[in-house]
């Protein structure tokens, strides 16, 4: 066993670790000072019992405050006094004011009500601007399902990942897809977790839809930088998706019928105020029609059967309160895409999907110490099978994790919120499992590689106030990975917020991240066959170091301006050899190439949250490069395809009244880079082969060209109805309103005469060659009917 720890713990960092350890020890001692009382508790939605993330709590007398964590828990401290006035608030809810005796510590659980708020005041983001302004956390975006549901949707399918692409600094792959390119990172460098379980492939239908059913999702946060110490494992972003807990007050349901899918969600109490459940499912139904068409044409010799395709996903969650201090949660996700084709002699199947499971235990040790212990299971696999009279073929890959994680939140004082915890993940990879041959066993092929890895981490961080104006969050994460070799690494994190005025803050952050598992994919599109591979002696962990500086300005109560500048250095980056064989390869590592990269840029965001018209504007300027890959461009710098210079987004929601709301989004992006062949050769071939008079010849440097710019306007209209049994709405979306032909890819095509028939070997000379742009989606109107009871 080889330990590679020294190369990942720079000596310059070691004194900093000792200082941090010492100061944290000191802080625990300071806590022994008396004369303070602690108020803690949980903040929930009064109607459904859902815990509220990021609700603010402050004490009127002292002006000190706090906000609820990801589990709705809060804790704050104040001087002992006769009485204390607590104010609880959460955007979209009525504030709650409570006056309590202040001589002893208390647990105060609060239910907030969303009723009686004027519609135009119902802002959809869970963090108030003021809270964002004061927070040390920068480079974070937040989306709720409620927000996503008001915006136009592709084929009427509300998609939380596509909505988040509308935020500054998060570029989409290209037309219609869910891939995220965050600050110069590739899609595999995003950690996507669903109720704390990793989702390895968040895509349905090659990335045109995400795996997240908006009806089951409570909240999504995406961290682009300044990563909190509790997160690790990917170098570019963290996308944290939280599922709803289920209504523990009353039984209810919701759903929708759209062009592509139908959805149904049921939720309710199992034991009132103690236990609740939520189940949610959706399924596409194009295959219902294709099967009918195939059946109708069974006797038609000229008819070519249409392949069947559908996807579905299913979410379920149960929670149970064991008492005032303990709560258990069980949640799971299961989703699959299925593609199949069958005729008299040929059966082809291709299915893929994720399964995740989470068991979580929240425990309140005392008013200052809260813990969350989570056991998760995560699986992604694909399987291609093919049967042809007497022969069969199957190819598949999978990645399967089980993990255990404990997080502790310790509210040391109003000036110190400490988090610490540890996790361990066991990875199991089944790579390129091939089995083929004849039924009689005379012919047999097989391939495949099984690998494992143990990933672990521990962290501590302290959110601290240094006086009235300066806040800091200092943290340190220690991580490692073990299989045939061992890698250890330190990941320091630091974030600062200096309040110049009550409405203007300057922020800065630094984060180092390490990534021990890697996506094996050469296509710029998300394919189900993209597989994951662990770090080994040859494949070293990817590392990122990112610094960001910026400012936030609150204009009045409802306008928020942010501006950030970042630089990210990426080490041990992975590309793949020329025409690498990635599907079935027992020596996959031979196809890996290693180098480094960097990205830098600027992001500007402006949000408006008051009045009938709400929305945001976002602009991103970015530069991305890769370099020092031995076999690519002679080791010199080159552009990755996602080096996109400008991205602009405008999102507007206009609420006429309770019945009607209109929304519009407009996106503009510089065209993606593309590797275009610049010359061609005539390839005669060996005797028996066809002559190819126009073989494309790609030459380095790669990705020197840009596709035409991408831009698109979408409109959405939501008409609400209020029948006696509940609520319903008709959501009308128009995707690509002005029918822009956006580039999907560029191809160079030979032109032959109209009467040309290529039937014999020999030199057939085309008339010329044209460059063609292929687009995917023209103007696409859609209608979805949603209901809730």
């Amino acid at each position: 066993m080889r330990v590679n720890s020294s190369s990942y713990i720079p000596n310059v960092v070691k004194p900093e670790i000792m200082k941090l350890t010492f100061s944290l020890s000191l802080l625990f001692v300071v806590h022994l000072i008396y004369g303070q009382v602690t108020i803690s508790g949980t903040v929930r939605d009064g109607e459904t019992g859902e815990t509220l993330i990021g609700a603010t709590v402050f004490i009127e007398e002292s002006g000190s405050g706090s906000s609820t964590n990801a589990y709705g828990f809060y804790s704050l401290e104040t001087e002992s006094q006769d009485s204390i006035t607590l104010v609880y608030s959460y955007v979209g809810y009525q504030s709650e004011r409570k006056r309590i005796g202040g001589r002893e510590s208390r647990v105060i659980d609060v239910d907030l009500s969303g009723e009686g708020i004027d519609l135009e005041e119902v802002v959809v983001q869970s963090n108030s601007f003021r809270e964002q302004l004061r927070s040390t956390q920068m480079s974070v975006e937040n989306i709720t399902t409620a927000e996503a549901k008001l915006l136009p949707a592709f084929f009427g399918e509300v998609d939380i990942l596509k909505t988040i692409q509308l935020k500054p600094g998060i570029a989409s792959g290209s037309e219609g897809r869910t891939g995220l390119f965050v600050r110069g990172g590739s899609p595999d460098q995003n950690l996507i977790v669903l109720d704390e379980a990793v989702v390895y492939n968040p895509n349905h239908l090659f990335g045109f839809f995400s795996t997240f059913n908006a009806d089951a999702v409570k909240n999504v946060e995406i961290y682009k930088g300044g990563f909190p110490a509790e997160y690790g494992g990917r170098v570019s972003s963290v996308i944290d998706v939280k599922l709803r807990d289920g209504n523990d007050k009353k039984f209810s349901g919701s759903g929708g019928i759209g062009l592509i899918t139908s959805r149904l969600t049921l939720e309710g109490p199992l034991i009132e105020d103690k236990s609740s459940f939520i189940v949610s499912g959706r399924r596409t139904y194009v295959d219902v029609f294709t099967r009918a068409v195939n059946r109708a044409n069974e006797d038609n010799e000229d008819f070519n059967a249409i392949p069947n395709y559908y996807f579905y996903d299913f979410n379920a969650k149960v929670n149970y309160s064991l008492g005032e201090r303990d709560r258990l949660f069980l949640s799971g996700y299961f989703g699959r895409d299925k593609f199949s084709f069958e005729d008299e002699v040929f059966t082809f199947g291709f299915d893929w999907g994720n399964a995740t499971g989470t068991a979580r235990w929240n425990h309140i040790f005392n008013q200052k110490l809260f813990s969350n212990t989570t056991f998760t299971f995560s699986d992604y696999d694909y399987e291609i099978s093919n049967e042809l009279t007497g022969f069969s073929f199957s190819l598949g890959s999978s990645v399967r994790d089980i993990s255990l994680k404990s997080d502790f939140y310790y509210a040391l004082s109003n000036s110190h919120d400490i988090k610490f915890g540890a996790n361990v993940i066991r990875h199991q990879f089944d790579v390129g499992r091939l089995k083929a041959g004849s039924d009689d066993g005379e012919v047999s092929f097989s391939a495949g590689e099984q690998l494992t890895g143990l990933q672990f981490g521990a962290y501590v961080s302290d959110e601290m106030n240094w006086g009235d104006r300066l806040k800091a969050n200092l943290g340190l994460r220690f991580s490692g990975f073990h299989n045939e070799t061992t890698y250890l690494g330190l990941e320091p994190r630091a974030a600062f917020n200096y309040s110049l005025t009550d409405n203007l803050s300057l922020k800065a952050s630094y984060a180092r991240m390490m990534q021990y598992v890697h996506l094996v994919s050469t296509a710029s599109l998300a394919l189900p066959t993209d597989i994951w591979y662990p770090s080994t002696e040859t494949v070293r962990p990817q590392i990122s170091n990112q610094v960001a500086v910026g400012g936030a300005l609150l204009l009045g109560d409802g306008y928020y301006l942010t501006n950030e500048y970042y630089y990210k250095k990426l080490d041990n980056q992975i590309e793949f050899a020329n025409f690498a064989e990635l599907f079935a390869n027992d020596n996959l590592e031979e196809e890996f190439l290693f180098g480094e990269g960097y990205g830098y840029g600027m992001e500007l965001g402006f949000e408006k949250k008051v009045g009938k018209l709400q929305g945001w504007l976002g602009y991103t300027l970015s530069y991305v490069r890769r370099r020092e890959f031995a076999s690519i461009n002679g080791g010199n710098e080159f552009f990755p395809v996602f080096d996109r210079r400008h991205d602009f987004t405008a999102v507007g929601i206009y609420k006429f009244n309770k019945k009607y709301s209109l929304s519009a989004t407009w996106v503009y992006g510089t065209g993606d880079r593309v590797w275009v062949p610049v010359s061609r050769i005539v390839h005669q071939g060996a005797p028996g082969a066809d002559v190819e008079p126009f073989v494309t010849q790609y030459q380095e440097p790669r990705n020197e060209f840009r596709q035409p710019a991408y831009h698109r306007l979408d409109l959405g209209l939501v008409i609400n109805f209020f029948p006696s049994w509940g609520e319903s709405d008709l959501t009308i979306s128009v995707y690509n309103v002005y029918d822009r032909r956006n580039p999907f890819f560029i191809t160079l095509q030979p032109e032959f005469p109209d009467d040309f028939e290529d039937q014999t070997v020999g030199l057939e000379v085309p008339q010329g060659i044209t460059a063609e742009q292929v687009s995917l989606f023209p103007i696409l109107p859609s209608v979805t009917w949603n209901f809730k009871f």
Binding site: E301, P307, F341, E344, V345, F346, I384, T389, E442, V443, S444, F445, S446, A447, T522, A523, S524, N578, F579, F583, A584, D586, V676, V678, S679, R680, I681, H683, A686, P687, G688, A689, D690, E692, V695, T696, Q697, Y698, R702, F705, R741, F744, F745, I746, T747, L748, Q759, T760, V761, G762, L763, V765, G768, I769, T770, A771, Q773, V774, S775, P778
Partner: protein, 286 residues
């Protein structure tokens, strides 16, 4: 990227249905002029070589085939192939293989021997003084063990003409890495092959490879099965040619460079390889 063709077919269908392709202007830099060599040493055939130059992508295509050929051929080069102490000069004389409709602009009257022990070396001096070099060998032929004609076990449609498939079996030497090119033609060798692909023997478990066709051939059809035993250089070159063609038309197929085995001061491209081909002719019978 085998399964990507299904995905791409779906997307192409969608694009075609909505007229989602449009011609665009693309300004490409000046390119082309790179020498391209194709020299296949086939035992029993003359030494022959095609020497052409690459073209910028949007260069005109002369519509007269002769004019087109003249545009791309490189003449007046000095070429020789060495096998041990023997040197075979190739003259700048056209050689046409009428059986397969192939043209070569350099050839010798001497025939390539079936010599699997010697190295063959290629030297080319171009008219501009630059050079091309390469070396290769001729691998032993891997014979086809059998071609089995099968009709479906269950009758598909009593009114239709029964159609058979052909299963072509070869034995693979498990003690070494082998590369193969599978090609089969329907009714005429001088036609576009029904199948043409390359493969390695990486995953063969028990020393037998089988290549199949669909149930497409009625009684009386003739099938020409060809198995090429390829050098690794030739395999990589041919695979990169296939992939380059695919990358231009399929967004799921990544682009890449053509992997040639010719080197030299002229920055050449191409392949110099022995051809070890076993061909079998089978007539479909009941």
């Amino acid at each position: 990227m085998k399964n990507s063709k299904y995905i791409f077919a779906f997307l192409a269908l969608l694009a075609a249905a909505c007229d989602l392709t449009q011609e665009i202007d693309l300004e490409l830099p000046d390119a082309g002029g790179q020498p391209v060599v194709e020299c296949y040493l086939e035992p029993g055939e003359p030494y022959r070589l095609l020497l052409t130059r690459s073209s910028a992508y949007f260069d005109d295509f002369p519509q007269d085939p002769q004019e087109f050929i003249d545009q791309i051929l490189i003449d007046s080069a000095e070429i020789e192939i060495r096998r041990g102490a023997e040197t075979i000069p190739l003259d700048n004389v056209a050689n046409i293989d009428f059986d397969f409709s192939k043209l070569y602009n350099y050839s010798s009257t001497e025939l390539v021997p079936y010599d699997t022990l010697s190295d063959f070396e290629l030297f080319i001096l171009l008219p501009d003084g630059s050079s091309i070099e390469a070396s290769t060998m001729i691998l032993p032929v891997v014979p086809i063990d059998s071609v089995v004609i099968e009709f479906p076990e269950e009758e598909v449609d009593p009114d239709s003409i029964p159609k058979a498939r052909a299963l072509t079996y070869i034995s693979d030497n498990p003690t070494q890495v082998n590369y193969y090119r599978r090609m089969y033609h329907w009714n005429s060798l001088d036609s576009i092959p029904e199948q043409d692909f390359v493969t390695s023997d990486d995953f063969v478990d028990n020393g037998t490879l089988v290549f199949g066709t669909g149930f497409d051939y009625p009684v009386g059809d003739t099938l020409y099965n060809s198995i090429f035993h390829m050098t690794e250089d030739y395999y990589n070159y041919q695979l990169s040619i296939f992939n380059s063609i695919a990358a231009n038309a399929n967004p799921f197929a990544p682009p890449g460079l053509i992997e040639s085995n010719v080197r030299g001061s002229s920055d050449p491209l191409g392949i110099f390889t022995g051809l070890s081909i076993y061909r079998d002719t089978t007539i479909v019978e009941e």
